[in-house]
């Protein structure tokens, strides 16, 4: 080993790279000598929280990850579930929060680019993108800049790629003002036999770098993602990568073509920590080593050091291990797409990641030491001291409104409830011509061409609930995602999650994380939706203020027969409106408390009775499959009244709701109308199907209430007496308030 002076190490420099002294000592122990600058840089990035999951890994073991339909669980570039007929769905969600906080357009765009590569590196053609977004309130000019920039970046990347952005969610809360969240999810479709993994098997096999050239952009991106944001963070702008969706489109087509050709042994995208993570992870998974001559890596500029080449996060690159006789053929495929493909090294049998510049070795360490043997931390946790006070809510002190019409209009115009059309009209959500149910519904539904099947997709998380009670909030995120899929007629299959939290070195944050993971695990077990992968994003804090704990759930489901899918819009005059589930007096954590009573986050979130949840979901799914239901919509933010209004708005049709005494006795009217009690779905059925439907519900012992009838042009709620109209408004007015709210705020 010749340690070049060029890469000699100044004492203490590891601390600037984010390593502790103890971690540095461990590195010395592993390699049996003083590491040089390049080696420390490589260890630092691979042992960063972002790459190593050193804090979260012990807890992530709680997730259920197996199931008869799971073909690939966590640990690969993306998870895979079987959908029958030899087909499978590949999917994953990932965060790009910190880049978006300082450069929203590129930060969000490259988040989309990265998640796309995670899916097509498995050999799948991406068929859908979703984005889960969190920003501060839009009355702040910088928030509007961040929000519009992020949406534009997402649109620019996805639209150019020709992958439809079909859904997601957008929430606004003060905690995200300085630290917005952008979580991008991608779903791909694949035949079982085409699945490729990120493994470097076959000693002597050539290792190739394909796609874009390596530049000095994005160096330290992973390290930047592993620290809190501060006023100095703008200086991190060079750590934000710059996206080139056209290059990625070429890379997508070339990679799928080369994978189909049978020449590929293993392939992995260069995401966080670029060449470093892709090489050591591929070697580590296969139990092999990789040797690369860095002088052969195509680069954008002269004079790049080994350190820069290994840590660059230049986008649109892949590392490919190919069969020994296939190099020429692989190059020809990339050449067709005007892309470079260069052999930079080979697979070795000694388990080492070895980097050279020509004959000179510049770094050498065991591949597994960078991945599996990264440090693990069991960090201390304790319940936040102020939580009990926050959870206390004296309902009696909250006055009930006098004018419910006004309250409903106010809620429909609240950005967390209002139409997100301003966002999704900027996304091409139809390209690929599979979009059967467009954005704005409970879940998006895509057809699978050539079959009768459909795939339903959603992302969900009410972070305010998670702040008020992370265990229940975590469970609700999973339950609501499943409920959304069921409302579209899909059987929930599996989830991916993106766990966005504050600084885990603080015991209160660690407690939130731990409780949320426990809640998600329990709900996934109960609903039989295993976790197939995802991403953890810590350090979402600025100036000592953390975001709400935000564990976003991305869930996919299967619609077995697309002719029996379902949407939320009320359909025809005379259809009967039925509430499945039970109303409770629960106002804690509600949008109503925030909008009407200026209580940002107060009380306990609604309780979740998972047994009831399962029964409600099974009953509704069965009824949809039997063709007894014309519309289905779950009650979420804004509660019963908002859900009913949304179904009217979506259907451009009115409805008369006559609430029987059994519903409103013993419960505050504002809680009944706007409380966010879980496990409730509003369905409609044709009058001649209603008897059958209700009989089935009775047989399944699922609670329900007949609420009223679809028809007319007004949305009306009365207490079983048309004289006592609590709410009576033209649907056109509701629609206008709901539809224009965000566009108005963005003007």
């Amino acid at each position: 080993m010749t340690n070049s002076n060029e890469y000699s190490l100044q004492p203490g420099v590891w601390r600037e790279m984010g390593l502790t002294d103890a971690e540095y000592e461990k590195i010395k122990e592993i390699i049996g000598r003083e590491p040089n600058y390049v080696e420390v840089g490589i260890f630092a990035v691979m042992w960063s929280e972002h790459c190593s999951y050193k804090t979260s890994r012990p807890l992530l073991k709680l997730f259920p990850t197996t199931g008869s339909h799971v073909l690939q669980g966590p640990g690969e570039n993306a998870g895979i579930v079987d959908i029958g007929d030899g087909q499978a769905v590949v999917f994953k969600i990932e965060s790009h929060n910190h880049p978006t906080a300082i450069e929203p357009y590129q930060g969000a765009a490259t988040g989309v680019g990265g998640i796309l590569r995670d899916v097509f590196t498995m050999g799948a053609r991406p068929i859908a993108l979703l984005n889960s977004l969190r920003f501060g309130y839009l009355d702040n000019a910088r928030t509007r800049f961040l929000f519009s920039g992020a949406v534009e970046g997402i649109a620019a990347y996805g639209n150019c790629m020709g992958v439809p952005t079909v859904g997601g969610e957008v929430y606004f809360a003060p905690g995200y003002q300085e630290n917005p969240l952008v979580n991008a999810m991608c779903v791909g479709l694949i035949k079982h036999q085409d699945i490729k993994k990120g493994i470097a098997t076959g000693v002597g096999n050539p290792v190739m770098v394909v796609g874009a050239r390596t530049g000095r952009d994005g160096i330290h991106g992973a390290t930047f993602a592993s620290e809190e944001l501060s006023e100095d963070s703008v200086e991190r702008r060079p750590a934000v990568q710059v996206g080139d969706p056209f290059m990625e489109k070429l890379l997508l087509e070339a990679c799928l073509e080369v994978i189909k050709s049978g020449h590929v042994v293993g392939i992995q995208d260069m995401g966080a920590a670029g060449l470093t993570s892709s090489s050591c992870e591929m070697a580590s998974r296969a139990g092999t080593g990789i040797e690369m001559d860095l002088l052969r890596v195509p680069r954008r500029e002269e004079g790049m050091t080994a350190y820069e080449l290994m840590l660059s996060e230049s986008q649109e690159r892949m590392l490919v291990v190919v069969k020994p006789d296939a190099v020429v053929k692989v190059k020809a495929i990339f050449d067709k797409w005007d892309l470079e493909a260069v052999v930079v090294g080979k697979v070795t049998g000694d388990g080492m990641l070895r980097l050279t510049e020509g004959d000179k070795i510049v770094a050498e360490m065991p591949a597994k030491a960078l991945t599996e043997e990264a440090p693990l931390y069991e960090r201390p946790y304790s319940e936040p001291e102020d939580l009990k006070a926050v959870q206390a809510l004296a309902l009696a002190s909250i006055p009930q409104p006098e004018d419910y019409n006004q309250i409903l209009l106010q809620l429909l115009a609240a950005p967390n409830i209002a139409s997100k059309e301003w966002v999704y009209r900027q996304y091409d959500h139809m390209v690929g011509i599979n979009t059967v149910v467009r954005p704005g519904s409970d879940a998006t539904v895509l057809r699978v061409k050539g079959t009768a099947k459909g795939i339903a997709i959603t992302t969900d998380c009410n972070a305010r609930y998670c702040y008020l009670d992370p265990y229940t909030g975590g469970m609700i995120a999973v339950a609501e995602a499943a409920r959304n899929l069921v409302c579209s007629g899909a059987k929930p299959l599996a989830i991916t999650n993106c766990l966005n939290f504050g600084n885990p070195e603080k015991p209160a944050i660690m407690w939130q994380f731990r409780r949320a993971v426990q809640g998600i695990s329990e709900a996934c077990r109960q609903l039989n939706t295993p976790v197939t992968g995802g991403n953890v994003s810590f350090y979402n804090e600025t100036k000592d203020t953390a975001i709400y704990p935000t564990p976003v759930i991305g869930m996919v489901g299967l619609v077995e027969d697309l002719t029996r899918h379902c949407t939320q819009d009320f359909k025809n005059n005379g259809d009967i409106i039925i509430l499945v589930g039970v109303n409770q007096e629960e106002l804690g954590g509600s949008e109503y408390l925030r909008v009407v009573h200026a209580m940002e986050a107060a009380g306990k979130p609604p309780a979740l009775d998972i047994a009831l949840e399962k029964k409600v979901q099974q009953a509704v799914l069965r009824a949809i499959k039997k063709g007894l239901i014309k519309s289905a919509h779950d009650c979420s933010e804004g509660g019963l009244a908002v859900a009913l209004a949304e179904s009217c708005i979506a259907g451009n049709i009115g409805g008369e709701i006559a609430l029987p005494a059994s519903v409103w006795q013993g419960i505050r009217l504002d809680a009944l109308l706007f409380g966010e009690t879980q496990s409730r779905i509003i369905i409609t059925s044709a009058a001649n199907h209603t008897d059958q439907l209700l009989q089935d519900l009775v047989e399944l012992a699922v609670p329900f209430t007949r609420l009223g009838t679809v028809g007319g042009t007004n949305f009306e709620i009365n207490l079983l007496d048309p004289e006592s109209k609590i709410i009576n408004l033209p649907v056109a007015k509701l629609k206008n308030e709901w539809r224009e709210a965000i566009a108005c705020l963005m003007k």
Binding site: E152, N159, P245, M430, V431, G432, V436, L562
Partner: protein
Amino acid sequence: MMKFGVVVFPGSNCDADCLHVLKNVLGQPAEYIWHKYDSVVGFDCIVLPGGFSYGDYLRPGAIARFSPVMEAVIEFANNGGLVLGICNGFQVLLEAGLLPGAMRRNDSLQFRCHDTDLKVENTETPFTILCEPGQVLKIPVAHGDGNYYCDPATLKALNKNNQIVFRYCNQQGDVVAAANPNGSVDNIAGICNQNGNVLGMMPHPERCAEKILGNDASMILLNSVLAYWQRKVH
């Protein structure tokens, strides 16, 4: 049978959608034509699909028009061959000089993806012969640069020669500013050349040709092409 060719530029992304509709919905033979080919011999209709050819980093279509296949497409069009440019394909046709005018950024300065209503203004082109005059078709748009512009003299000529094929309108068929998604001159959504054999349109007919997607309004355009072809052959 009528043989369709769908040109694939680097960055085309509606090529597969067009091929699917032509083959599996319309039931006609259809093949991709790689942009580096220099011949389109054997095809009866050429489709330039939507997408972001060469990333649209310069003006949309400005680089694609230099692809080798475009010389062949121009020759094909000048000999009366049927050419349909959709979205980015329309932009390429403008850059290639097969249609007059130019595209600007949408007046909202944002990408727009939603359904639009189109008034069929010319029912004599091969692409619209089955339509009723003034018929309203619901066809979605998805573009950032669909703000069609031409100078007053050209607009006059387009009107005089009946080259404006589609205009954005409301559901009742009124051509009003509120129905215009991008600020295009005179609500223009699609135009043809003087002979009517070359059509460029911003909305995407391939996205509304199947009932399962909730809308098959564009089948009348596709069936028009077939009907035209049958009349021509017989």
